[in-house]
Amino acid sequence: MHKKITNIKQLKLIANTIRQDVIRMLLEAKSGHSAGSIGLADIFSALYFNVLYHDPKNPSWPDRDRLLLSNGHVAPVLYAAMANADYFPKEELMTLRKLGSRLQGHPHPGSLPGIENSGGPLGQGLSQAVGMAIVAKAERKRWRVYCAMSDGEHDEGQTWEAIMLANKYKLNNLTAIIDRNSIQMDGMTEDILPLEPFAEKYRAFGWRVIEVDGHNIAKFIEACEEAKAVYERPTVIIAHTIPGKGIPYMEYLSEWHGKTPSKEQADEAITLLEEERKRIEEE
Protein backbone atom coordinates (compact mmCIF):
# COMPACT_ATOMS: atom_id res chain seq x y z
CA MET A 1 0.00 0.00 0.00
CA HIS A 2 1.06 3.54 -0.68
CA LYS A 3 2.43 5.36 2.35
CA LYS A 4 0.31 8.34 3.37
CA ILE A 5 2.04 11.69 3.58
CA THR A 6 0.67 13.80 6.40
CA ASN A 7 3.15 16.66 6.24
CA ILE A 8 1.24 19.50 4.56
CA LYS A 9 4.37 21.24 3.37
CA GLN A 10 5.42 18.10 1.57
CA LEU A 11 1.98 17.80 -0.05
CA LYS A 12 2.22 21.42 -1.19
CA LEU A 13 5.58 20.70 -2.79
CA ILE A 14 4.08 17.72 -4.59
CA ALA A 15 1.23 19.93 -5.83
CA ASN A 16 3.84 22.36 -7.10
CA THR A 17 5.60 19.52 -8.96
CA ILE A 18 2.30 18.40 -10.43
CA ARG A 19 1.64 21.94 -11.71
CA GLN A 20 5.04 22.07 -13.36
CA ASP A 21 4.50 18.64 -14.90
CA VAL A 22 1.10 19.66 -16.25
CA ILE A 23 2.58 22.76 -17.88
CA ARG A 24 5.35 20.74 -19.53
CA MET A 25 2.89 18.08 -20.69
CA LEU A 26 0.52 20.59 -22.23
CA LEU A 27 3.35 22.48 -23.89
CA GLU A 28 4.60 19.25 -25.44
CA ALA A 29 1.13 18.00 -26.44
CA LYS A 30 0.09 21.38 -27.91
CA SER A 31 -3.51 20.52 -27.13
CA GLY A 32 -5.47 19.88 -23.97
CA HIS A 33 -7.09 21.63 -21.03
CA SER A 34 -5.00 23.92 -18.85
CA ALA A 35 -7.09 25.89 -16.36
CA GLY A 36 -8.99 23.03 -14.76
CA SER A 37 -5.94 20.77 -14.61
CA ILE A 38 -3.75 23.39 -12.94
CA GLY A 39 -6.51 24.40 -10.51
CA LEU A 40 -6.87 20.81 -9.31
CA ALA A 41 -3.20 20.20 -8.47
CA ASP A 42 -3.63 20.65 -4.70
CA ILE A 43 -6.59 18.30 -4.55
CA PHE A 44 -4.84 15.62 -6.61
CA SER A 45 -1.74 15.87 -4.45
CA ALA A 46 -3.93 15.33 -1.39
CA LEU A 47 -5.85 12.48 -3.00
CA TYR A 48 -2.93 10.44 -4.31
CA PHE A 49 -0.52 11.08 -1.42
CA ASN A 50 -2.87 11.15 1.54
CA VAL A 51 -6.56 10.41 1.10
CA LEU A 52 -6.66 7.31 -1.09
CA TYR A 53 -5.83 3.80 0.01
CA HIS A 54 -4.11 2.47 -3.06
CA ASP A 55 -1.03 0.65 -4.29
CA PRO A 56 0.68 2.03 -7.37
CA LYS A 57 2.66 -1.20 -7.71
CA ASN A 58 -0.55 -3.19 -7.69
CA PRO A 59 -3.14 -1.00 -9.40
CA SER A 60 -5.78 -3.70 -9.42
CA TRP A 61 -5.50 -4.43 -5.68
CA PRO A 62 -9.10 -5.45 -4.92
CA ASP A 63 -9.39 -3.45 -1.69
CA ARG A 64 -8.17 -0.15 -3.11
CA ASP A 65 -10.29 2.97 -2.94
CA ARG A 66 -11.72 3.80 -6.36
CA LEU A 67 -11.13 7.26 -7.77
CA LEU A 68 -13.23 7.95 -10.83
CA LEU A 69 -12.65 11.01 -12.97
CA SER A 70 -15.82 12.30 -14.55
CA ASN A 71 -14.49 15.49 -16.17
CA GLY A 72 -11.96 13.53 -18.17
CA HIS A 73 -10.55 16.61 -19.87
CA VAL A 74 -8.45 17.31 -16.74
CA ALA A 75 -6.57 14.07 -17.45
CA PRO A 76 -3.19 15.89 -17.30
CA VAL A 77 -3.50 16.47 -13.54
CA LEU A 78 -4.56 12.86 -13.01
CA TYR A 79 -1.63 11.51 -15.03
CA ALA A 80 0.85 13.85 -13.35
CA ALA A 81 -0.36 12.80 -9.88
CA MET A 82 -0.21 9.12 -10.85
CA ALA A 83 3.30 9.41 -12.29
CA ASN A 84 4.54 11.19 -9.17
CA ALA A 85 2.95 8.43 -7.10
CA ASP A 86 4.95 5.92 -9.16
CA TYR A 87 2.24 4.31 -11.25
CA PHE A 88 4.43 4.74 -14.31
CA PRO A 89 7.71 6.47 -15.26
CA LYS A 90 7.55 10.26 -15.31
CA GLU A 91 9.12 10.39 -18.78
CA GLU A 92 5.93 8.93 -20.11
CA LEU A 93 4.07 12.13 -19.19
CA MET A 94 5.57 13.73 -22.30
CA THR A 95 3.71 11.27 -24.54
CA LEU A 96 0.32 12.75 -23.56
CA ARG A 97 -2.12 12.74 -26.49
CA LYS A 98 0.41 11.34 -28.95
CA LEU A 99 -0.15 8.40 -31.24
CA GLY A 100 0.55 5.17 -29.40
CA SER A 101 0.57 6.74 -25.92
CA ARG A 102 -1.04 5.15 -22.88
CA LEU A 103 -1.97 8.67 -21.84
CA GLN A 104 -5.06 9.17 -23.96
CA GLY A 105 -6.54 12.64 -24.33
CA HIS A 106 -9.34 11.45 -22.09
CA PRO A 107 -8.58 8.58 -19.69
CA HIS A 108 -9.16 5.00 -20.79
CA PRO A 109 -8.88 2.07 -18.37
CA GLY A 110 -7.81 -0.28 -21.16
CA SER A 111 -4.84 1.93 -21.95
CA LEU A 112 -3.29 2.59 -18.54
CA PRO A 113 -3.39 0.51 -15.33
CA GLY A 114 -4.72 2.53 -12.42
CA ILE A 115 -7.38 4.30 -14.47
CA GLU A 116 -10.77 3.27 -13.11
CA ASN A 117 -13.14 4.67 -15.74
CA SER A 118 -13.57 6.39 -19.05
CA GLY A 119 -14.62 10.00 -18.83
CA GLY A 120 -14.68 12.95 -21.16
CA PRO A 121 -18.26 13.03 -22.32
CA LEU A 122 -19.36 15.14 -19.36
CA GLY A 123 -21.87 13.95 -16.81
CA GLN A 124 -21.19 10.21 -16.97
CA GLY A 125 -18.80 9.74 -14.07
CA LEU A 126 -21.12 10.03 -11.10
CA SER A 127 -23.42 7.32 -12.48
CA GLN A 128 -20.45 4.97 -12.80
CA ALA A 129 -19.37 5.84 -9.25
CA VAL A 130 -22.87 5.21 -7.91
CA GLY A 131 -22.90 1.81 -9.60
CA MET A 132 -19.64 0.90 -7.89
CA ALA A 133 -20.75 2.25 -4.53
CA ILE A 134 -24.00 0.26 -4.67
CA VAL A 135 -22.02 -2.96 -5.18
CA ALA A 136 -19.45 -2.06 -2.52
CA LYS A 137 -22.18 -1.32 -0.03
CA ALA A 138 -24.18 -4.45 -0.85
CA GLU A 139 -21.05 -6.58 -0.40
CA ARG A 140 -19.89 -4.67 2.69
CA LYS A 141 -16.57 -3.67 1.19
CA ARG A 142 -14.25 -1.45 3.19
CA TRP A 143 -13.10 0.59 0.22
CA ARG A 144 -14.61 3.95 -0.71
CA VAL A 145 -15.62 5.41 -4.03
CA TYR A 146 -14.43 8.91 -4.89
CA CYS A 147 -15.75 10.73 -7.90
CA ALA A 148 -13.92 13.83 -9.12
CA MET A 149 -16.29 16.04 -11.09
CA SER A 150 -16.49 19.53 -12.49
CA ASP A 151 -19.05 22.23 -11.93
CA GLY A 152 -19.79 22.53 -15.65
CA GLU A 153 -21.01 18.99 -15.93
CA HIS A 154 -23.84 19.76 -13.54
CA ASP A 155 -25.53 21.20 -16.63
CA GLU A 156 -26.10 17.60 -17.68
CA GLY A 157 -29.33 15.98 -16.51
CA GLN A 158 -27.56 12.66 -15.98
CA THR A 159 -25.55 14.14 -13.11
CA TRP A 160 -28.75 14.91 -11.22
CA GLU A 161 -30.18 11.48 -11.98
CA ALA A 162 -27.10 9.99 -10.30
CA ILE A 163 -27.34 12.42 -7.38
CA MET A 164 -30.88 11.23 -6.69
CA LEU A 165 -29.95 7.56 -6.92
CA ALA A 166 -27.03 7.97 -4.52
CA ASN A 167 -29.52 9.38 -2.01
CA LYS A 168 -31.92 6.49 -2.56
CA TYR A 169 -29.23 3.93 -1.71
CA LYS A 170 -27.82 6.07 1.14
CA LEU A 171 -24.33 5.69 -0.27
CA ASN A 172 -22.23 6.74 2.71
CA ASN A 173 -19.28 5.05 0.97
CA LEU A 174 -19.35 7.63 -1.82
CA THR A 175 -17.58 10.99 -1.80
CA ALA A 176 -18.08 13.32 -4.74
CA ILE A 177 -15.47 16.03 -5.13
CA ILE A 178 -16.47 18.99 -7.25
CA ASP A 179 -14.05 21.40 -8.84
CA ARG A 180 -16.09 24.56 -8.26
CA ASN A 181 -13.94 26.83 -10.40
CA SER A 182 -16.90 28.71 -11.90
CA ILE A 183 -15.70 28.40 -15.50
CA GLN A 184 -16.73 26.22 -18.38
CA MET A 185 -16.04 26.35 -22.12
CA ASP A 186 -18.09 29.34 -23.28
CA GLY A 187 -17.65 31.44 -20.14
CA MET A 188 -18.60 31.62 -16.45
CA THR A 189 -20.94 28.95 -15.14
CA GLU A 190 -23.33 31.54 -13.71
CA ASP A 191 -23.68 33.15 -17.16
CA ILE A 192 -23.96 29.93 -19.17
CA LEU A 193 -26.34 28.03 -16.89
CA PRO A 194 -26.50 29.23 -13.28
CA LEU A 195 -25.79 26.53 -10.70
CA GLU A 196 -26.31 28.57 -7.54
CA PRO A 197 -27.53 27.98 -4.93
CA PHE A 198 -25.35 24.97 -5.56
CA ALA A 199 -24.79 23.58 -2.05
CA GLU A 200 -28.48 23.98 -1.25
CA LYS A 201 -29.37 21.91 -4.29
CA TYR A 202 -27.24 19.03 -3.05
CA ARG A 203 -28.69 19.36 0.45
CA ALA A 204 -32.20 19.28 -0.93
CA PHE A 205 -31.25 16.09 -2.78
CA GLY A 206 -30.27 14.41 0.49
CA TRP A 207 -26.49 14.76 0.43
CA ARG A 208 -24.12 15.90 3.16
CA VAL A 209 -22.34 18.98 1.82
CA ILE A 210 -18.90 20.20 2.86
CA GLU A 211 -17.54 23.36 1.26
CA VAL A 212 -13.80 23.91 1.32
CA ASP A 213 -11.09 26.04 -0.20
CA GLY A 214 -9.75 23.66 -2.82
CA HIS A 215 -6.24 25.02 -2.39
CA ASN A 216 -6.15 24.39 1.35
CA ILE A 217 -4.78 20.86 1.42
CA ALA A 218 -5.22 20.39 5.17
CA LYS A 219 -8.87 21.47 5.06
CA PHE A 220 -9.53 19.27 2.04
CA ILE A 221 -8.06 16.19 3.76
CA GLU A 222 -10.14 16.99 6.83
CA ALA A 223 -13.28 17.11 4.68
CA CYS A 224 -12.44 13.71 3.16
CA GLU A 225 -12.04 12.29 6.67
CA GLU A 226 -15.28 13.86 7.83
CA ALA A 227 -17.10 12.25 4.87
CA LYS A 228 -16.09 8.81 6.12
CA ALA A 229 -17.89 9.47 9.39
CA VAL A 230 -21.18 10.50 7.80
CA TYR A 231 -23.95 8.05 8.55
CA GLU A 232 -26.25 6.80 5.77
CA ARG A 233 -25.67 9.65 3.34
CA PRO A 234 -23.38 10.37 0.40
CA THR A 235 -21.08 13.35 0.83
CA VAL A 236 -20.15 16.01 -1.66
CA ILE A 237 -17.11 18.19 -1.14
CA ILE A 238 -17.60 21.40 -3.05
CA ALA A 239 -14.02 22.53 -3.49
CA HIS A 240 -13.80 26.20 -4.40
CA THR A 241 -10.82 26.55 -6.69
CA ILE A 242 -9.23 29.15 -8.90
CA PRO A 243 -8.85 27.89 -12.45
CA GLY A 244 -5.18 28.15 -13.43
CA LYS A 245 -4.19 28.74 -9.77
CA GLY A 246 -0.56 29.77 -9.36
CA ILE A 247 -0.18 31.10 -12.90
CA PRO A 248 -1.52 34.66 -12.86
CA TYR A 249 -2.13 35.04 -16.60
CA MET A 250 -4.34 31.97 -16.47
CA GLU A 251 -6.23 32.50 -13.22
CA TYR A 252 -10.02 32.91 -13.32
CA LEU A 253 -10.16 32.91 -17.13
CA SER A 254 -12.47 30.58 -19.08
CA GLU A 255 -10.34 31.39 -22.15
CA TRP A 256 -7.80 29.02 -20.62
CA HIS A 257 -10.29 26.17 -20.32
CA GLY A 258 -9.10 24.41 -23.46
CA LYS A 259 -5.97 26.29 -24.46
CA THR A 260 -2.34 25.30 -23.99
CA PRO A 261 0.57 27.62 -23.19
CA SER A 262 3.08 28.82 -25.76
CA LYS A 263 6.79 28.24 -25.11
CA GLU A 264 7.16 31.72 -23.56
CA GLN A 265 4.06 31.30 -21.44
CA ALA A 266 5.23 27.89 -20.26
CA ASP A 267 8.66 29.28 -19.34
CA GLU A 268 7.02 32.08 -17.41
CA ALA A 269 4.78 29.59 -15.60
CA ILE A 270 7.72 27.39 -14.63
CA THR A 271 9.65 30.39 -13.31
CA LEU A 272 6.67 31.50 -11.22
CA LEU A 273 6.14 28.00 -9.92
CA GLU A 274 9.82 27.71 -8.98
CA GLU A 275 9.51 30.92 -6.96
CA GLU A 276 6.41 29.53 -5.32
CA ARG A 277 8.34 26.37 -4.53
CA LYS A 278 11.01 28.37 -2.69
CA ARG A 279 8.33 30.14 -0.67
CA ILE A 280 6.81 26.80 0.34
CA GLU A 281 10.21 25.44 1.34
CA GLU A 282 10.84 28.49 3.54
CA GLU A 283 7.49 28.17 5.31
Binding site: R97, K98, H106, H108, G120, M185, D186
Partner: protein, 329 residues
Protein backbone atom coordinates in the same frame (compact mmCIF):
# COMPACT_ATOMS: atom_id res chain seq x y z
CA UNK B 1 -10.18 12.66 -66.04
CA UNK B 2 -10.83 15.50 -63.62
CA UNK B 3 -13.97 17.42 -64.49
CA UNK B 4 -12.50 20.75 -63.48
CA UNK B 5 -14.40 22.90 -65.98
CA UNK B 6 -17.70 21.09 -65.91
CA UNK B 7 -17.92 21.05 -62.11
CA UNK B 8 -16.28 24.46 -61.66
CA UNK B 9 -13.47 23.11 -59.50
CA UNK B 10 -10.40 25.23 -58.82
CA UNK B 11 -7.62 24.94 -61.41
CA UNK B 12 -4.81 24.12 -59.02
CA UNK B 13 -6.83 21.51 -57.16
CA UNK B 14 -3.92 19.19 -56.41
CA UNK B 15 -1.41 21.83 -55.43
CA UNK B 16 -3.60 24.37 -53.63
CA UNK B 17 -2.64 25.24 -50.07
CA UNK B 18 -5.89 27.00 -49.23
CA UNK B 19 -7.10 24.78 -46.39
CA UNK B 20 -10.00 25.86 -44.20
CA UNK B 21 -11.88 24.08 -41.45
CA UNK B 22 -15.24 22.78 -42.64
CA UNK B 23 -16.98 24.27 -39.62
CA UNK B 24 -16.11 27.73 -40.96
CA UNK B 25 -18.33 27.00 -43.97
CA UNK B 26 -21.13 26.10 -41.63
CA UNK B 27 -20.62 29.28 -39.60
CA UNK B 28 -20.59 31.40 -42.75
CA UNK B 29 -23.68 29.75 -44.20
CA UNK B 30 -25.50 30.16 -40.91
CA UNK B 31 -24.69 33.85 -40.82
CA UNK B 32 -26.04 34.23 -44.37
CA UNK B 33 -29.32 32.42 -43.73
CA UNK B 34 -29.66 34.31 -40.44
CA UNK B 35 -29.42 37.55 -42.39
CA UNK B 36 -31.87 36.47 -45.07
CA UNK B 37 -34.40 34.79 -42.88
CA UNK B 38 -35.43 36.18 -39.51
CA UNK B 39 -37.03 32.88 -38.58
CA UNK B 40 -33.65 31.25 -38.17
CA UNK B 41 -32.78 30.54 -34.53
CA UNK B 42 -29.67 28.91 -33.12
CA UNK B 43 -29.07 26.91 -29.96
CA UNK B 44 -25.80 25.46 -28.67
CA UNK B 45 -24.47 23.48 -25.71
CA UNK B 46 -21.45 25.38 -24.35
CA UNK B 47 -19.50 25.02 -27.57
CA UNK B 48 -20.28 28.21 -29.45
CA UNK B 49 -16.80 29.05 -30.62
CA UNK B 50 -15.82 25.49 -31.51
CA UNK B 51 -18.87 25.15 -33.74
CA UNK B 52 -18.64 28.69 -35.16
CA UNK B 53 -22.17 29.60 -34.12
CA UNK B 54 -20.56 32.46 -32.18
CA UNK B 55 -20.57 34.37 -35.51
CA UNK B 56 -24.36 34.13 -35.58
CA UNK B 57 -24.62 34.78 -31.83
CA UNK B 58 -22.72 38.05 -32.10
CA UNK B 59 -24.94 39.28 -34.93
CA UNK B 60 -28.31 38.01 -33.73
CA UNK B 61 -28.15 37.60 -29.95
CA UNK B 62 -31.94 37.77 -29.69
CA UNK B 63 -32.28 34.61 -31.80
CA UNK B 64 -29.56 32.70 -30.01
CA UNK B 65 -30.00 30.43 -26.97
CA UNK B 66 -27.10 29.17 -24.87
CA UNK B 67 -28.32 25.91 -23.33
CA UNK B 68 -25.31 24.90 -21.26
CA UNK B 69 -23.70 21.46 -21.41
CA UNK B 70 -27.02 19.67 -21.84
CA UNK B 71 -27.41 18.10 -25.27
CA UNK B 72 -30.64 16.29 -24.46
CA UNK B 73 -32.25 19.48 -23.27
CA UNK B 74 -30.88 21.26 -26.34
CA UNK B 75 -32.63 18.85 -28.72
CA UNK B 76 -35.93 19.30 -26.91
CA UNK B 77 -35.60 23.07 -26.80
CA UNK B 78 -34.72 23.18 -30.50
CA UNK B 79 -37.86 21.15 -31.23
CA UNK B 80 -39.94 23.59 -29.17
CA UNK B 81 -38.52 26.56 -31.03
CA UNK B 82 -39.20 24.87 -34.37
CA UNK B 83 -42.75 24.03 -33.37
CA UNK B 84 -43.35 27.80 -33.05
CA UNK B 85 -42.74 28.09 -36.79
CA UNK B 86 -39.02 28.84 -36.58
CA UNK B 87 -36.09 27.15 -38.29
CA UNK B 88 -33.98 25.93 -35.38
CA UNK B 89 -30.30 25.09 -35.81
CA UNK B 90 -28.73 23.17 -32.96
CA UNK B 91 -25.01 22.91 -32.95
CA UNK B 92 -22.61 20.84 -30.84
CA UNK B 93 -20.04 18.04 -31.04
CA UNK B 94 -21.13 14.88 -32.86
CA UNK B 95 -20.04 12.60 -30.02
CA UNK B 96 -22.66 14.19 -27.77
CA UNK B 97 -25.24 15.36 -30.29
CA UNK B 98 -26.50 12.97 -31.70
CA UNK B 99 -24.31 10.82 -29.44
CA UNK B 100 -26.22 11.57 -26.26
CA UNK B 101 -29.58 12.86 -27.42
CA UNK B 102 -30.69 10.33 -30.01
CA UNK B 103 -34.02 9.62 -28.30
CA UNK B 104 -34.84 13.33 -28.17
CA UNK B 105 -33.88 13.65 -31.85
CA UNK B 106 -35.99 10.61 -32.69
CA UNK B 107 -39.17 11.71 -30.95
CA UNK B 108 -39.08 15.47 -30.32
CA UNK B 109 -37.55 16.22 -33.71
CA UNK B 110 -38.11 13.42 -36.25
CA UNK B 111 -41.43 11.98 -35.11
CA UNK B 112 -42.96 15.43 -34.80
CA UNK B 113 -41.21 16.38 -38.05
CA UNK B 114 -39.94 19.55 -36.39
CA UNK B 115 -37.95 21.91 -38.55
CA UNK B 116 -34.66 21.38 -36.73
CA UNK B 117 -31.26 21.38 -38.39
CA UNK B 118 -28.66 19.49 -36.41
CA UNK B 119 -25.11 20.61 -36.93
CA UNK B 120 -22.31 18.45 -35.56
CA UNK B 121 -18.74 19.54 -35.55
CA UNK B 122 -15.70 17.49 -34.41
CA UNK B 123 -16.47 14.24 -36.22
CA UNK B 124 -14.25 11.38 -37.02
CA UNK B 125 -10.65 10.61 -36.19
CA UNK B 126 -9.53 13.97 -37.50
CA UNK B 127 -10.61 15.33 -34.09
CA UNK B 128 -7.21 13.92 -33.19
CA UNK B 129 -5.71 14.37 -29.74
CA UNK B 130 -8.94 14.32 -27.73
CA UNK B 131 -9.09 10.60 -28.46
CA UNK B 132 -11.75 7.94 -28.83
CA UNK B 133 -14.34 9.52 -26.51
CA UNK B 134 -14.60 12.54 -28.79
CA UNK B 135 -14.14 10.88 -32.19
CA UNK B 136 -17.70 10.36 -33.42
CA UNK B 137 -17.60 7.52 -35.92
CA UNK B 138 -21.14 6.23 -35.57
CA UNK B 139 -23.29 9.34 -35.92
CA UNK B 140 -24.36 8.75 -39.52
CA UNK B 141 -25.45 5.20 -38.71
CA UNK B 142 -27.48 6.42 -35.74
CA UNK B 143 -29.32 9.03 -37.73
CA UNK B 144 -29.75 7.19 -41.02
CA UNK B 145 -32.29 4.89 -39.40
CA UNK B 146 -34.58 7.80 -38.46
CA UNK B 147 -37.58 8.61 -40.66
CA UNK B 148 -37.79 12.23 -41.89
CA UNK B 149 -34.07 12.82 -41.38
CA UNK B 150 -31.77 13.88 -44.18
CA UNK B 151 -28.01 13.66 -43.82
CA UNK B 152 -25.38 15.82 -45.47
CA UNK B 153 -21.62 15.51 -45.17
CA UNK B 154 -19.99 18.37 -47.11
CA UNK B 155 -16.53 17.98 -48.64
CA UNK B 156 -15.18 21.48 -48.21
CA UNK B 157 -15.96 24.86 -46.74
CA UNK B 158 -17.82 26.09 -49.82
CA UNK B 159 -20.01 23.02 -50.04
CA UNK B 160 -20.73 23.31 -46.30
CA UNK B 161 -21.94 26.87 -46.84
CA UNK B 162 -24.22 25.78 -49.67
CA UNK B 163 -25.50 22.85 -47.67
CA UNK B 164 -26.61 25.15 -44.86
CA UNK B 165 -28.60 27.20 -47.35
CA UNK B 166 -30.12 24.12 -48.94
CA UNK B 167 -31.31 22.57 -45.68
CA UNK B 168 -32.68 25.90 -44.50
CA UNK B 169 -34.84 26.09 -47.61
CA UNK B 170 -36.12 22.56 -47.25
CA UNK B 171 -38.62 21.91 -44.44
CA UNK B 172 -37.87 19.17 -41.93
CA UNK B 173 -35.12 17.59 -39.86
CA UNK B 174 -31.63 17.57 -41.29
CA UNK B 175 -28.16 16.66 -40.13
CA UNK B 176 -25.02 18.40 -41.32
CA UNK B 177 -21.66 17.00 -40.33
CA UNK B 178 -18.51 19.07 -40.48
CA UNK B 179 -15.05 18.21 -39.24
CA UNK B 180 -12.71 20.47 -37.33
CA UNK B 181 -9.71 19.56 -39.48
CA UNK B 182 -8.78 21.89 -42.30
CA UNK B 183 -9.38 20.75 -45.85
CA UNK B 184 -8.49 22.31 -49.20
CA UNK B 185 -11.31 24.40 -50.64
CA UNK B 186 -11.56 22.99 -54.16
CA UNK B 187 -15.18 23.60 -55.15
CA UNK B 188 -16.37 27.08 -56.04
CA UNK B 189 -19.53 29.12 -55.82
CA UNK B 190 -20.58 27.76 -59.24
CA UNK B 191 -20.10 24.08 -58.37
CA UNK B 192 -23.57 22.55 -58.29
CA UNK B 193 -25.11 21.46 -55.02
CA UNK B 194 -28.44 19.72 -54.84
CA UNK B 195 -29.65 17.67 -51.87
CA UNK B 196 -29.69 14.00 -52.90
CA UNK B 197 -27.62 14.44 -56.03
CA UNK B 198 -24.01 13.25 -55.91
CA UNK B 199 -21.33 15.25 -57.72
CA UNK B 200 -18.99 13.43 -60.07
CA UNK B 201 -15.62 15.23 -59.97
CA UNK B 202 -13.57 12.69 -61.88
CA UNK B 203 -14.34 10.03 -64.48
CA UNK B 204 -12.62 6.63 -64.62
CA UNK B 205 -13.30 3.13 -65.87
CA UNK B 206 -11.54 0.86 -63.38
CA UNK B 207 -13.29 1.79 -60.15
CA UNK B 208 -15.66 4.41 -58.77
CA UNK B 209 -14.81 5.92 -55.40
CA UNK B 210 -17.78 7.28 -53.50
CA UNK B 211 -16.56 9.55 -50.72
CA UNK B 212 -17.92 12.14 -48.34
CA UNK B 213 -16.50 14.85 -46.11
CA UNK B 214 -12.78 15.38 -46.14
CA UNK B 215 -12.31 11.99 -47.80
CA UNK B 216 -13.45 13.48 -51.11
CA UNK B 217 -10.30 15.53 -51.46
CA UNK B 218 -8.11 12.63 -50.27
CA UNK B 219 -9.81 10.41 -52.85
CA UNK B 220 -9.15 12.91 -55.62
CA UNK B 221 -5.48 12.92 -54.69
CA UNK B 222 -5.48 9.13 -54.52
CA UNK B 223 -7.11 8.89 -57.97
CA UNK B 224 -4.40 11.11 -59.40
CA UNK B 225 -1.67 8.86 -57.96
CA UNK B 226 -3.44 5.75 -59.24
CA UNK B 227 -3.78 7.28 -62.67
CA UNK B 228 -0.01 7.52 -62.88
CA UNK B 229 0.05 3.76 -62.43
CA UNK B 230 -2.55 3.27 -65.15
CA UNK B 231 -5.55 2.80 -62.86
CA UNK B 232 -8.41 5.16 -63.64
CA UNK B 233 -10.87 5.88 -60.84
CA UNK B 234 -13.98 7.98 -60.85
CA UNK B 235 -14.39 10.13 -57.75
CA UNK B 236 -17.86 10.98 -56.58
CA UNK B 237 -18.71 13.46 -53.85
CA UNK B 238 -21.62 11.70 -52.20
CA UNK B 239 -22.46 14.62 -49.92
CA UNK B 240 -26.02 13.47 -49.26
CA UNK B 241 -26.09 10.16 -47.49
CA UNK B 242 -29.80 10.24 -46.94
CA UNK B 243 -31.59 10.25 -49.33
CA UNK B 244 -28.79 8.41 -51.14
CA UNK B 245 -28.39 8.99 -54.87
CA UNK B 246 -29.63 5.60 -56.19
CA UNK B 247 -29.30 6.55 -59.83
CA UNK B 248 -25.71 7.62 -59.51
CA UNK B 249 -24.74 4.44 -57.66
CA UNK B 250 -26.45 2.20 -60.24
CA UNK B 251 -25.01 4.15 -63.12
CA UNK B 252 -21.48 3.57 -61.85
CA UNK B 253 -22.22 -0.02 -60.98
CA UNK B 254 -22.87 -0.47 -64.68
CA UNK B 255 -19.86 1.55 -65.82
CA UNK B 256 -17.32 -0.16 -63.53
CA UNK B 257 -16.95 -3.50 -61.79
CA UNK B 258 -15.76 -2.02 -58.53
CA UNK B 259 -17.32 0.58 -56.26
CA UNK B 260 -15.42 1.83 -53.24
CA UNK B 261 -16.80 3.85 -50.37
CA UNK B 262 -14.50 6.05 -48.31
CA UNK B 263 -15.65 7.83 -45.19
CA UNK B 264 -14.43 9.00 -41.80
CA UNK B 265 -16.98 6.75 -40.09
CA UNK B 266 -17.40 3.12 -39.11
CA UNK B 267 -17.85 0.93 -42.19
CA UNK B 268 -21.23 -0.10 -40.80
CA UNK B 269 -24.29 2.03 -41.36
CA UNK B 270 -22.71 5.05 -42.99
CA UNK B 271 -22.06 5.89 -46.62
CA UNK B 272 -20.74 2.39 -47.35
CA UNK B 273 -23.76 0.84 -45.70
CA UNK B 274 -26.12 3.01 -47.71
CA UNK B 275 -24.45 2.07 -51.00
CA UNK B 276 -24.44 -1.62 -50.04
CA UNK B 277 -28.19 -1.47 -49.48
CA UNK B 278 -28.77 -0.01 -52.95
CA UNK B 279 -26.48 -2.52 -54.68
CA UNK B 280 -27.94 -5.52 -52.90
CA UNK B 281 -31.36 -4.90 -54.37
CA UNK B 282 -30.30 -4.58 -57.99
CA UNK B 283 -28.70 -6.96 -60.43
CA UNK B 284 -25.41 -5.30 -61.32
CA UNK B 285 -22.06 -6.78 -62.13
CA UNK B 286 -20.26 -4.61 -59.60
CA UNK B 287 -19.06 -5.29 -56.09
CA UNK B 288 -18.55 -2.79 -53.30
CA UNK B 289 -15.56 -2.52 -50.98
CA UNK B 290 -16.12 -0.30 -47.96
CA UNK B 291 -13.33 1.76 -46.48
CA UNK B 292 -13.52 3.73 -43.28
CA UNK B 293 -12.94 2.75 -39.69
CA UNK B 294 -13.09 -1.03 -39.59
CA UNK B 295 -15.08 -1.75 -36.43
CA UNK B 296 -12.73 -0.35 -33.82
CA UNK B 297 -12.38 2.57 -31.43
CA UNK B 298 -9.44 4.74 -32.36
CA UNK B 299 -7.09 6.76 -30.19
CA UNK B 300 -5.37 10.05 -29.44
CA UNK B 301 -2.88 11.41 -31.92
CA UNK B 302 -2.21 14.14 -34.39
CA UNK B 303 -4.99 14.20 -37.02
CA UNK B 304 -2.53 13.62 -39.88
CA UNK B 305 -0.87 10.69 -38.07
CA UNK B 306 -4.26 9.12 -37.41
CA UNK B 307 -5.40 9.55 -41.01
CA UNK B 308 -2.20 7.81 -42.06
CA UNK B 309 -2.50 5.01 -39.51
CA UNK B 310 -6.10 4.24 -40.43
CA UNK B 311 -5.31 4.57 -44.15
CA UNK B 312 -7.75 7.38 -44.72
CA UNK B 313 -5.24 9.70 -46.36
CA UNK B 314 -4.54 9.62 -50.12
CA UNK B 315 -1.78 7.00 -49.79
CA UNK B 316 -3.99 4.78 -47.68
CA UNK B 317 -6.80 5.03 -50.20
CA UNK B 318 -4.40 4.13 -53.03
CA UNK B 319 -3.43 1.01 -51.11
CA UNK B 320 -7.04 0.14 -50.40
CA UNK B 321 -8.06 0.53 -54.05
CA UNK B 322 -5.19 -1.63 -55.30
CA UNK B 323 -6.06 -4.34 -52.80
CA UNK B 324 -9.74 -4.13 -53.76
CA UNK B 325 -8.92 -4.44 -57.45
CA UNK B 326 -7.35 -7.83 -56.75
CA UNK B 327 -10.78 -9.23 -55.96
CA UNK B 328 -12.04 -8.34 -59.44
CA UNK B 329 -11.62 -11.19 -61.90
Amino acid sequence: MLKTKEMYLIEDLLTSKNAVSLRDGFGKGLLEVGQENHNVWVVTADVQESTRVNWFAEKFPQRFVQIGIAEQNMAGVAAGIALCGKIAFMSAFAAFSPGRNWDQIRVSICYTNANVKIHASHNGISVGQDGATHQALEDIAMLRALPNMIIIVPCDVEEARKAVKAITNRFGPAYIRTSREKVITFTTEKTPFEIGKANVYREGKDAAIFACGLEVYESLKAAEQLSKEGIECAVIDCHTIKPIDHDCILEWAKKTKLLISVEEHQIYGGLGGAIAEVLSEEQTGAILKRHGIHDTFCESGDAKDLMRKYKLDANGIVEFVKEALKSIP
